[in-house]
Amino acid sequence: MNIINFTPVSAFLGGTLIGLAVVLFFVLNGRLIGISGIASNFLTSKVNRVDNLLFIVGLIIGPILYKFFTSQEINISIPNSFYLLAVAGLLVGVGTRISGGCTSGHGISGVGRFSLRSIVATVTFMIVGILTVWVKNLI
């Protein structure tokens, strides 16, 4: 194993902001953030629909504000295959709804409150994610 591109400081700082958002949302609005829950409930439920929409809008405005105030470009590279993204999107959409959470809902909100269920979910999606990348690199 070689370690490359490791950015512990910015990763940790960004992580604390994410943690702060989850705390504020909990103490002020009484809910625990899980992005798959917020986004899917916005689509399929009338309960808290405006709140959920505004959260999603904020999530998109965040990077724009960062870019505006720091004048730094945000570079990302996403796989360029329509079919791969379609299959991946479907798997992520269906999978997070069947298990009731994603990286934020299970991985942060759930693990942070020591929910065994969320710890099991997080370990499972990490292992399957690692295996998927491993198989993909073999092909």
Binding site: T44, V57, I61
Partner: protein, 146 residues
């Protein structure tokens, strides 16, 4: 009711913004960074683990401090699932999610945040993710819990 009603909406927007900036600073908005983390058998980028640690160091102690509060500040009651069931759905769902996550390097938060960059590939992913949300609801597969 009136004033508090509006405050929860403003808080939702602000929390979304803070979360989105966190994803940007930590570079988790970039699928290449996430795939680097999952590539543990190849060239490994451990950064994602530090994002989780940073988030949990802030969230976990404060959650335990505030969880016994009578009520949240801007709404009438706390509402979050306390589902403790360890079942097949949890494992199957998490496995499907993990497979999609490993294929594209995108999970729901970064996928939505990356729409800010007007990247057609993220639009493509997000549309199919929402189709997945809708299908789960339609087929009654949903677990409303974490």
């Amino acid at each position: 009711m009136g004033k508090k009603f509006n405050m929860s909406k403003i808080i939702s927007l602000i929390c979304g913004i803070i979360f989105g900036i966190g994803l940007t600073i930590s570079e988790m908005i970039d699928p290449a960074k996430v795939l680097g983390f999952l590539n543990i058998f190849g060239e490994w980028d451990p950064s994602l683990a530090f994002v989780m640690i940073g988030a949990l160091i802030i969230f976990s102690p404060l959650f335990h401090l505030f969880q016994n509060n009578k009520k949240p500040i801007f709404v009438d009651k706390f509402s979050y699932s306390n589902n403790k069931e360890l079942n097949k759905k949890l494992i199957i769902g998490s496995s499907l999610f993990g497979a999609g996550w490993g294929l594209a390097g995108l999970c729901p938060g970064p996928a939505i945040a990356s729409l800010a960059l007007l990247n057609l590939n993220s639009v493509n992913f997000v549309i199919f993710m929402f189709i997945g949300f809708y299908l789960s609801k339609l087929l009654d597969l949903t677990t409303q819990a974490r």
